[in-house]
Protein backbone atom coordinates (compact mmCIF):
# COMPACT_ATOMS: atom_id res chain seq x y z
CA UNK A 1 0.00 0.00 0.00
CA UNK A 2 1.90 2.97 1.27
CA UNK A 3 5.41 3.01 -0.14
CA UNK A 4 7.43 3.08 3.02
CA UNK A 5 11.00 4.14 2.43
CA UNK A 6 13.10 1.02 2.27
CA UNK A 7 16.31 1.26 4.14
CA UNK A 8 18.14 -1.79 2.98
CA UNK A 9 19.74 -1.12 -0.38
CA UNK A 10 22.01 -3.74 -1.82
CA UNK A 11 20.21 -6.46 0.07
CA UNK A 12 18.90 -8.12 -3.04
CA UNK A 13 22.24 -8.73 -4.62
CA UNK A 14 21.49 -10.30 -7.95
CA UNK A 15 17.72 -10.56 -8.05
CA UNK A 16 15.80 -9.66 -11.18
CA UNK A 17 13.35 -6.79 -11.14
CA UNK A 18 10.23 -6.33 -13.18
CA UNK A 19 8.47 -2.98 -13.43
CA UNK A 20 4.76 -2.54 -13.97
CA UNK A 21 3.21 0.84 -14.68
CA UNK A 22 -0.46 1.65 -14.48
CA UNK A 23 -1.11 4.13 -17.26
CA UNK A 24 -4.61 4.91 -16.00
CA UNK A 25 -3.32 5.99 -12.62
CA UNK A 26 -0.33 7.98 -13.91
CA UNK A 27 -0.91 11.71 -13.36
CA UNK A 28 2.04 12.82 -15.44
CA UNK A 29 4.02 14.50 -12.72
CA UNK A 30 7.31 13.22 -14.08
CA UNK A 31 8.83 12.36 -10.72
CA UNK A 32 9.90 8.95 -12.00
CA UNK A 33 11.82 10.55 -14.86
CA UNK A 34 13.72 12.74 -12.45
CA UNK A 35 14.54 9.78 -10.20
CA UNK A 36 15.47 7.24 -12.87
CA UNK A 37 15.86 8.88 -16.29
CA UNK A 38 17.35 5.75 -17.86
CA UNK A 39 14.30 3.69 -17.04
CA UNK A 40 11.37 6.11 -17.23
CA UNK A 41 10.43 8.73 -19.78
CA UNK A 42 7.19 10.51 -20.56
CA UNK A 43 5.21 10.42 -23.78
CA UNK A 44 4.41 13.77 -25.36
CA UNK A 45 1.15 13.84 -23.44
CA UNK A 46 2.95 13.39 -20.12
CA UNK A 47 1.99 9.78 -19.43
CA UNK A 48 4.83 7.55 -18.27
CA UNK A 49 6.83 5.62 -20.85
CA UNK A 50 8.73 2.61 -19.57
CA UNK A 51 12.10 2.37 -21.31
CA UNK A 52 13.25 -0.83 -19.68
CA UNK A 53 10.90 -3.14 -17.85
CA UNK A 54 13.64 -5.20 -16.27
CA UNK A 55 16.56 -2.86 -15.77
CA UNK A 56 20.04 -3.98 -14.73
CA UNK A 57 21.14 -4.17 -11.13
CA UNK A 58 22.90 -0.80 -10.99
CA UNK A 59 19.60 0.97 -11.70
CA UNK A 60 17.52 -0.84 -9.09
CA UNK A 61 18.06 1.71 -6.36
CA UNK A 62 16.94 4.55 -8.61
CA UNK A 63 13.92 2.54 -9.75
CA UNK A 64 12.88 1.82 -6.16
CA UNK A 65 13.11 5.53 -5.50
CA UNK A 66 10.97 6.28 -8.56
CA UNK A 67 8.32 3.82 -7.40
CA UNK A 68 8.33 5.27 -3.89
CA UNK A 69 7.99 8.88 -4.98
CA UNK A 70 5.39 8.39 -7.71
CA UNK A 71 2.51 10.55 -6.44
CA UNK A 72 -0.06 8.37 -8.17
CA UNK A 73 1.35 5.05 -6.88
CA UNK A 74 1.36 4.01 -10.52
CA UNK A 75 4.62 2.07 -10.44
CA UNK A 76 4.82 -1.41 -8.94
CA UNK A 77 7.91 -3.55 -8.71
CA UNK A 78 8.20 -7.29 -8.72
CA UNK A 79 11.42 -8.28 -7.11
CA UNK A 80 12.35 -11.87 -6.42
CA UNK A 81 14.45 -12.56 -3.40
Amino acid sequence: MTPRPTSAPGQKASSPMRILVDLDKCCGAGSCVLAAPRVFDQRDDGIVLLLDESPPEDLHKAVREAAAVCPASAITLEERD
Binding site: P5, S7, C27, G28, A29, D45
Partner: protein, 404 residues
Amino acid sequence: MSTDTDDQVLSYPLPAPSALEPPPEWVQLRERCPVAHVRLASGDSAMMLTRYADIRQVLSDPRFTRDLSADGAARTTANEGGSAFENAEAAALVSGERHQSWRRLVMKWFTAKQILAMQQRMETMVNSLVDDMVAKGAPADLLASVGFPFPVWVICDLLGIPDIDRDKLAYWSNTMLSMTQYTQQEIDAAQLEFRQYMTAHITSKRDNPGPDLISELLTVVDEGQRLTEQELIFTAQGILVAGHETTSNMIGKMMAMLLADRARWEQLLQDPALVRTAVEEALRYDANSGFGLPRFLTHDAEIAGHSVPRGTTLVCSLSAANRDERAFERADAMDLTRTPNPHLAFGAGPHSCVGQTLARTELQTVLTLLLRRLPTLALAVPPDALPRRTGLLVGGLEQVLVRW
Protein backbone atom coordinates in the same frame (compact mmCIF):
# COMPACT_ATOMS: atom_id res chain seq x y z
CA MET B 1 -9.31 2.34 21.56
CA SER B 2 -10.29 5.84 22.36
CA THR B 3 -12.09 6.87 19.22
CA ASP B 4 -14.05 9.71 20.65
CA THR B 5 -12.69 12.68 18.87
CA ASP B 6 -15.32 15.10 20.06
CA ASP B 7 -13.96 15.65 23.53
CA GLN B 8 -11.28 17.97 22.30
CA VAL B 9 -12.05 20.53 19.65
CA LEU B 10 -8.96 22.24 18.40
CA SER B 11 -8.98 25.46 16.46
CA TYR B 12 -7.53 24.99 13.02
CA PRO B 13 -4.91 25.84 11.86
CA LEU B 14 -2.96 25.04 15.03
CA PRO B 15 -0.52 27.75 16.04
CA ALA B 16 3.17 26.90 15.56
CA PRO B 17 5.87 28.06 17.97
CA SER B 18 7.93 29.65 15.20
CA ALA B 19 8.17 29.73 11.43
CA LEU B 20 10.34 26.64 11.14
CA GLU B 21 8.92 24.52 13.98
CA PRO B 22 5.84 22.29 13.93
CA PRO B 23 2.93 22.69 16.37
CA PRO B 24 3.72 20.42 19.35
CA GLU B 25 0.27 18.77 19.16
CA TRP B 26 1.08 16.88 15.95
CA VAL B 27 2.92 14.04 17.68
CA GLN B 28 0.00 13.30 19.97
CA LEU B 29 -2.59 13.70 17.27
CA ARG B 30 -0.82 11.19 15.06
CA GLU B 31 -0.43 8.87 18.00
CA ARG B 32 -3.83 9.06 19.64
CA CYS B 33 -6.20 11.04 17.52
CA PRO B 34 -5.49 10.55 13.82
CA VAL B 35 -8.99 11.79 12.90
CA ALA B 36 -9.35 14.87 15.04
CA HIS B 37 -12.30 17.18 15.34
CA VAL B 38 -11.29 20.77 14.57
CA ARG B 39 -13.02 24.10 14.27
CA LEU B 40 -12.13 26.28 11.30
CA ALA B 41 -11.86 30.05 11.25
CA SER B 42 -15.32 30.17 9.65
CA GLY B 43 -16.75 28.43 12.73
CA ASP B 44 -17.52 25.27 10.74
CA SER B 45 -16.16 21.96 11.90
CA ALA B 46 -13.94 19.54 10.07
CA MET B 47 -11.85 16.47 10.73
CA MET B 48 -8.11 16.89 10.65
CA LEU B 49 -5.85 14.09 9.43
CA THR B 50 -2.21 13.94 10.46
CA ARG B 51 -0.93 10.48 9.51
CA TYR B 52 0.96 9.83 6.29
CA ALA B 53 -0.89 6.65 5.31
CA ASP B 54 -4.35 8.11 5.96
CA ILE B 55 -3.66 11.26 4.01
CA ARG B 56 -2.19 9.35 1.12
CA GLN B 57 -5.28 7.12 1.10
CA VAL B 58 -7.66 10.08 1.07
CA LEU B 59 -5.80 12.06 -1.61
CA SER B 60 -5.50 9.01 -3.85
CA ASP B 61 -9.22 8.24 -3.72
CA PRO B 62 -11.17 10.27 -6.30
CA ARG B 63 -14.37 9.81 -4.29
CA PHE B 64 -13.04 12.33 -1.80
CA THR B 65 -13.78 15.44 -3.75
CA ARG B 66 -11.96 18.70 -3.80
CA ASP B 67 -15.16 20.52 -4.62
CA LEU B 68 -16.15 22.27 -1.41
CA SER B 69 -19.05 24.09 -2.97
CA ALA B 70 -21.21 21.05 -2.16
CA ASP B 71 -24.05 21.48 0.33
CA GLY B 72 -22.88 20.87 3.85
CA ALA B 73 -19.18 21.27 3.12
CA ALA B 74 -17.27 23.36 5.62
CA ARG B 75 -16.34 26.86 4.57
CA THR B 76 -12.60 27.08 4.33
CA THR B 77 -10.46 29.87 3.13
CA ALA B 78 -7.95 27.36 1.89
CA ASN B 79 -6.70 28.39 -1.43
CA GLU B 80 -3.54 26.46 -1.72
CA GLY B 81 -2.23 24.86 -4.84
CA GLY B 82 -4.86 23.97 -7.36
CA SER B 83 -7.72 25.01 -5.12
CA ALA B 84 -7.01 28.45 -6.44
CA PHE B 85 -9.73 27.80 -8.96
CA GLU B 86 -12.21 29.33 -6.62
CA ASN B 87 -15.22 30.40 -8.61
CA ALA B 88 -17.75 27.78 -9.65
CA GLU B 89 -16.91 27.70 -13.34
CA ALA B 90 -13.21 27.49 -12.68
CA ALA B 91 -13.80 24.81 -10.06
CA ALA B 92 -15.79 22.75 -12.55
CA LEU B 93 -12.75 22.67 -14.79
CA VAL B 94 -10.48 21.13 -12.21
CA SER B 95 -12.75 18.84 -10.27
CA GLY B 96 -15.13 16.10 -11.28
CA GLU B 97 -15.32 14.82 -14.81
CA ARG B 98 -13.78 17.74 -16.61
CA HIS B 99 -10.65 17.56 -14.47
CA GLN B 100 -9.00 14.67 -16.21
CA SER B 101 -9.25 16.00 -19.70
CA TRP B 102 -8.17 19.44 -18.53
CA ARG B 103 -5.22 18.00 -16.71
CA ARG B 104 -4.17 16.02 -19.78
CA LEU B 105 -4.10 19.19 -21.82
CA VAL B 106 -2.01 21.08 -19.33
CA MET B 107 0.21 18.19 -18.26
CA LYS B 108 2.17 17.99 -21.48
CA TRP B 109 3.69 21.37 -20.71
CA PHE B 110 5.00 20.18 -17.40
CA THR B 111 6.77 16.99 -18.42
CA ALA B 112 10.33 16.47 -17.27
CA LYS B 113 11.54 17.00 -20.84
CA GLN B 114 9.75 20.33 -21.23
CA ILE B 115 11.00 21.57 -17.91
CA LEU B 116 14.60 20.51 -18.48
CA ALA B 117 14.47 22.46 -21.72
CA MET B 118 13.72 25.57 -19.64
CA GLN B 119 16.60 25.01 -17.25
CA GLN B 120 19.12 27.18 -19.05
CA ARG B 121 16.68 30.08 -19.12
CA MET B 122 15.95 29.58 -15.44
CA GLU B 123 19.66 29.82 -14.64
CA THR B 124 19.89 33.07 -16.56
CA MET B 125 16.93 34.46 -14.60
CA VAL B 126 18.37 33.50 -11.20
CA ASN B 127 21.80 34.82 -12.12
CA SER B 128 20.42 38.18 -13.08
CA LEU B 129 18.36 38.39 -9.87
CA VAL B 130 21.43 37.48 -7.80
CA ASP B 131 23.49 40.08 -9.71
CA ASP B 132 20.99 42.76 -8.72
CA MET B 133 20.92 41.63 -5.12
CA VAL B 134 24.71 41.62 -4.87
CA ALA B 135 24.94 45.01 -6.55
CA LYS B 136 22.66 46.52 -3.91
CA GLY B 137 24.74 44.99 -1.15
CA ALA B 138 24.14 43.13 2.10
CA PRO B 139 22.01 42.74 4.08
CA ALA B 140 19.37 41.84 1.52
CA ASP B 141 15.98 40.18 1.63
CA LEU B 142 16.50 36.96 -0.29
CA LEU B 143 12.78 36.54 -0.64
CA ALA B 144 12.15 39.92 -2.24
CA SER B 145 15.33 39.76 -4.34
CA VAL B 146 15.07 36.21 -5.70
CA GLY B 147 12.31 34.11 -4.16
CA PHE B 148 9.43 36.35 -5.05
CA PRO B 149 10.24 37.42 -8.65
CA PHE B 150 11.80 34.19 -9.97
CA PRO B 151 8.69 31.93 -10.07
CA VAL B 152 6.65 34.69 -11.77
CA TRP B 153 9.34 35.09 -14.38
CA VAL B 154 9.19 31.36 -15.00
CA ILE B 155 5.41 31.39 -15.33
CA CYS B 156 5.62 34.32 -17.76
CA ASP B 157 8.10 32.32 -19.81
CA LEU B 158 5.70 29.37 -19.76
CA LEU B 159 2.71 31.48 -20.81
CA GLY B 160 4.65 33.43 -23.43
CA ILE B 161 4.24 36.72 -21.57
CA PRO B 162 6.86 39.36 -22.49
CA ASP B 163 9.52 40.26 -19.91
CA ILE B 164 8.35 43.83 -19.60
CA ASP B 165 5.02 42.67 -18.15
CA ARG B 166 6.51 40.44 -15.43
CA ASP B 167 6.08 42.99 -12.66
CA LYS B 168 2.41 43.48 -13.47
CA LEU B 169 1.84 39.73 -13.26
CA ALA B 170 3.66 39.59 -9.93
CA TYR B 171 1.45 42.31 -8.49
CA TRP B 172 -1.78 40.71 -9.67
CA SER B 173 -0.76 37.32 -8.40
CA ASN B 174 0.18 38.64 -4.99
CA THR B 175 -3.04 40.59 -4.71
CA MET B 176 -5.33 37.79 -5.84
CA LEU B 177 -3.96 35.45 -3.16
CA SER B 178 -4.02 37.90 -0.33
CA MET B 179 -6.63 37.77 2.40
CA THR B 180 -5.89 40.78 4.50
CA GLN B 181 -3.09 42.72 2.92
CA TYR B 182 -5.25 44.29 0.28
CA THR B 183 -8.81 45.60 0.31
CA GLN B 184 -11.54 43.68 -1.46
CA GLN B 185 -11.62 46.51 -3.98
CA GLU B 186 -7.94 46.05 -4.77
CA ILE B 187 -8.41 42.29 -5.07
CA ASP B 188 -11.34 42.69 -7.47
CA ALA B 189 -9.44 45.26 -9.50
CA ALA B 190 -6.41 42.97 -9.75
CA GLN B 191 -8.61 40.16 -10.92
CA LEU B 192 -10.27 42.27 -13.54
CA GLU B 193 -7.00 43.70 -14.83
CA PHE B 194 -5.47 40.24 -14.98
CA ARG B 195 -8.40 38.88 -16.98
CA GLN B 196 -8.32 41.81 -19.38
CA TYR B 197 -4.61 41.39 -19.83
CA MET B 198 -4.96 37.66 -20.49
CA THR B 199 -7.78 38.22 -22.97
CA ALA B 200 -5.55 40.55 -24.96
CA HIS B 201 -2.62 38.17 -24.60
CA ILE B 202 -4.68 35.26 -25.92
CA THR B 203 -5.78 37.29 -28.92
CA SER B 204 -2.21 38.16 -29.72
CA LYS B 205 -1.16 34.52 -29.38
CA ARG B 206 -3.93 33.48 -31.71
CA ASP B 207 -2.43 35.76 -34.37
CA ASN B 208 1.20 35.10 -33.49
CA PRO B 209 1.58 31.71 -31.86
CA GLY B 210 4.85 30.97 -30.08
CA PRO B 211 6.46 28.10 -28.21
CA ASP B 212 4.31 28.57 -25.11
CA LEU B 213 1.47 26.92 -23.22
CA ILE B 214 -1.19 29.41 -24.34
CA SER B 215 -0.40 28.99 -28.03
CA GLU B 216 -0.44 25.23 -27.58
CA LEU B 217 -3.75 25.19 -25.74
CA LEU B 218 -5.25 27.38 -28.44
CA THR B 219 -4.52 24.82 -31.09
CA VAL B 220 -4.76 21.51 -29.32
CA VAL B 221 -7.95 19.57 -29.53
CA ASP B 222 -8.65 17.09 -26.82
CA GLU B 223 -11.14 14.47 -27.87
CA GLY B 224 -12.75 17.07 -30.04
CA GLN B 225 -13.04 19.43 -27.15
CA ARG B 226 -11.11 22.66 -27.06
CA LEU B 227 -10.86 24.87 -24.06
CA THR B 228 -13.03 27.92 -24.33
CA GLU B 229 -11.37 31.29 -24.02
CA GLN B 230 -12.89 31.63 -20.57
CA GLU B 231 -11.38 28.31 -19.53
CA LEU B 232 -8.05 29.32 -20.95
CA ILE B 233 -8.08 32.42 -18.76
CA PHE B 234 -8.97 30.34 -15.70
CA THR B 235 -6.14 27.99 -16.55
CA ALA B 236 -3.63 30.82 -16.80
CA GLN B 237 -4.91 32.34 -13.58
CA GLY B 238 -4.86 28.97 -11.83
CA ILE B 239 -1.27 28.34 -12.88
CA LEU B 240 -0.21 31.77 -11.72
CA VAL B 241 -1.92 31.44 -8.37
CA ALA B 242 -0.90 27.80 -7.85
CA GLY B 243 2.66 28.23 -9.04
CA HIS B 244 3.82 31.60 -7.79
CA GLU B 245 3.27 32.07 -4.07
CA THR B 246 3.81 28.39 -3.30
CA THR B 247 7.20 28.33 -4.97
CA SER B 248 8.26 31.77 -3.69
CA ASN B 249 7.44 30.74 -0.15
CA MET B 250 9.23 27.46 -0.53
CA ILE B 251 12.38 29.18 -1.79
CA GLY B 252 12.30 31.37 1.33
CA LYS B 253 11.63 28.50 3.72
CA MET B 254 14.17 26.20 2.08
CA MET B 255 16.92 28.79 2.33
CA ALA B 256 15.97 29.65 5.90
CA MET B 257 16.06 25.98 6.94
CA LEU B 258 19.38 25.35 5.23
CA LEU B 259 21.01 28.45 6.68
CA ALA B 260 19.49 28.07 10.14
CA ASP B 261 22.00 25.33 10.87
CA ARG B 262 25.42 26.12 9.43
CA ALA B 263 26.27 22.41 9.24
CA ARG B 264 23.61 21.95 6.56
CA TRP B 265 25.01 24.71 4.37
CA GLU B 266 28.56 23.43 4.83
CA GLN B 267 27.46 19.92 3.88
CA LEU B 268 26.03 21.26 0.62
CA LEU B 269 29.12 23.37 -0.12
CA GLN B 270 31.23 20.26 0.27
CA ASP B 271 28.97 18.13 -1.84
CA PRO B 272 26.79 20.14 -4.23
CA ALA B 273 25.51 16.86 -5.70
CA LEU B 274 23.24 16.74 -2.65
CA VAL B 275 21.12 19.58 -4.02
CA ARG B 276 18.48 17.24 -5.40
CA THR B 277 17.89 15.31 -2.18
CA ALA B 278 18.28 18.48 -0.09
CA VAL B 279 15.43 20.13 -1.98
CA GLU B 280 13.20 17.11 -1.36
CA GLU B 281 14.08 17.11 2.30
CA ALA B 282 13.32 20.83 2.57
CA LEU B 283 9.89 20.13 1.04
CA ARG B 284 9.31 17.32 3.52
CA TYR B 285 10.65 19.16 6.53
CA ASP B 286 8.68 22.35 5.95
CA ALA B 287 6.49 22.62 9.03
CA ASN B 288 4.69 25.65 7.73
CA SER B 289 3.14 24.62 4.44
CA GLY B 290 -0.15 26.31 5.09
CA PHE B 291 -3.72 25.24 5.54
CA GLY B 292 -3.41 21.73 4.13
CA LEU B 293 -5.69 20.11 1.59
CA PRO B 294 -9.43 20.07 2.23
CA ARG B 295 -11.56 17.23 0.90
CA PHE B 296 -15.30 16.61 1.09
CA LEU B 297 -16.78 13.17 1.68
CA THR B 298 -19.60 12.26 -0.67
CA HIS B 299 -19.93 8.78 0.85
CA ASP B 300 -19.32 7.11 4.19
CA ALA B 301 -15.73 6.07 4.63
CA GLU B 302 -13.37 4.40 7.01
CA ILE B 303 -10.17 6.17 7.90
CA ALA B 304 -7.64 4.88 10.43
CA GLY B 305 -10.29 2.49 11.76
CA HIS B 306 -12.82 5.27 12.36
CA SER B 307 -16.01 5.49 10.41
CA VAL B 308 -16.35 8.93 8.97
CA PRO B 309 -19.80 9.83 7.65
CA ARG B 310 -20.74 11.29 4.31
CA GLY B 311 -20.89 15.08 4.44
CA THR B 312 -17.71 15.40 6.49
CA THR B 313 -15.07 17.89 5.48
CA LEU B 314 -11.55 16.58 5.97
CA VAL B 315 -8.43 18.68 6.25
CA CYS B 316 -5.25 16.85 5.35
CA SER B 317 -2.26 18.40 7.06
CA LEU B 318 0.54 17.67 4.63
CA SER B 319 3.23 18.98 6.96
CA ALA B 320 2.04 16.75 9.79
CA ALA B 321 2.08 13.72 7.47
CA ASN B 322 5.58 14.60 6.35
CA ARG B 323 6.76 14.36 9.96
CA ASP B 324 5.01 11.04 10.58
CA GLU B 325 7.47 8.69 12.23
CA ARG B 326 5.47 5.74 10.85
CA ALA B 327 6.49 6.72 7.35
CA PHE B 328 9.90 8.32 7.75
CA GLU B 329 12.81 7.14 9.82
CA ARG B 330 13.99 9.86 12.17
CA ALA B 331 11.16 12.01 10.85
CA ASP B 332 12.14 14.89 13.13
CA ALA B 333 15.63 15.18 11.73
CA MET B 334 16.48 17.07 8.58
CA ASP B 335 18.61 14.66 6.56
CA LEU B 336 19.86 16.17 3.31
CA THR B 337 20.71 12.74 1.92
CA ARG B 338 17.33 11.09 2.55
CA THR B 339 16.34 8.75 -0.31
CA PRO B 340 13.74 7.80 -1.23
CA ASN B 341 11.72 10.68 0.09
CA PRO B 342 8.06 10.14 -0.79
CA HIS B 343 6.87 13.29 1.00
CA LEU B 344 3.44 14.75 0.38
CA ALA B 345 4.35 18.41 -0.11
CA PHE B 346 2.85 18.23 -3.61
CA GLY B 347 -0.15 16.18 -2.55
CA ALA B 348 -0.80 12.75 -4.03
CA GLY B 349 -3.19 11.05 -6.42
CA PRO B 350 -5.00 12.48 -9.42
CA HIS B 351 -4.72 16.11 -8.28
CA SER B 352 -1.12 15.96 -7.17
CA CYS B 353 0.74 19.08 -8.20
CA VAL B 354 1.02 19.21 -11.96
CA GLY B 355 3.85 21.71 -11.63
CA GLN B 356 5.99 19.65 -9.30
CA THR B 357 8.78 18.93 -11.74
CA LEU B 358 8.90 22.62 -12.53
CA ALA B 359 8.87 23.58 -8.84
CA ARG B 360 11.64 21.09 -8.07
CA THR B 361 13.77 22.43 -10.90
CA GLU B 362 13.22 26.02 -9.74
CA LEU B 363 14.25 25.14 -6.19
CA GLN B 364 17.29 23.20 -7.40
CA THR B 365 18.35 26.06 -9.68
CA VAL B 366 18.14 28.63 -6.89
CA LEU B 367 20.02 26.46 -4.44
CA THR B 368 22.75 25.44 -6.89
CA LEU B 369 23.43 29.01 -7.97
CA LEU B 370 23.40 30.44 -4.46
CA LEU B 371 25.86 27.77 -3.31
CA ARG B 372 28.10 28.51 -6.25
CA ARG B 373 27.93 32.28 -6.16
CA LEU B 374 27.52 33.13 -2.47
CA PRO B 375 29.20 30.39 -0.42
CA THR B 376 29.44 32.70 2.58
CA LEU B 377 25.67 33.28 2.60
CA ALA B 378 24.21 33.47 6.12
CA LEU B 379 21.02 34.54 7.84
CA ALA B 380 21.21 38.11 9.12
CA VAL B 381 18.69 37.37 11.89
CA PRO B 382 18.39 34.44 14.32
CA PRO B 383 16.17 31.66 12.87
CA ASP B 384 13.47 32.02 15.53
CA ALA B 385 13.17 35.71 14.74
CA LEU B 386 12.31 35.11 11.08
CA PRO B 387 9.10 37.07 10.51
CA ARG B 388 6.16 34.94 9.37
CA ARG B 389 3.78 35.90 6.62
CA THR B 390 0.24 36.57 7.58
CA GLY B 391 -2.70 37.50 5.44
CA LEU B 392 -1.80 35.10 2.69
CA LEU B 393 -3.32 31.70 2.15
CA VAL B 394 -0.07 29.81 1.93
CA GLY B 395 2.29 29.60 4.88
CA GLY B 396 5.61 31.31 4.56
CA LEU B 397 8.07 33.88 5.72
CA GLU B 398 7.70 37.61 5.32
CA GLN B 399 11.38 38.21 4.83
CA VAL B 400 14.62 36.24 4.78
CA LEU B 401 17.36 38.74 5.57
CA VAL B 402 20.80 37.51 4.54
CA ARG B 403 24.38 38.70 4.27
CA TRP B 404 27.40 37.16 2.52
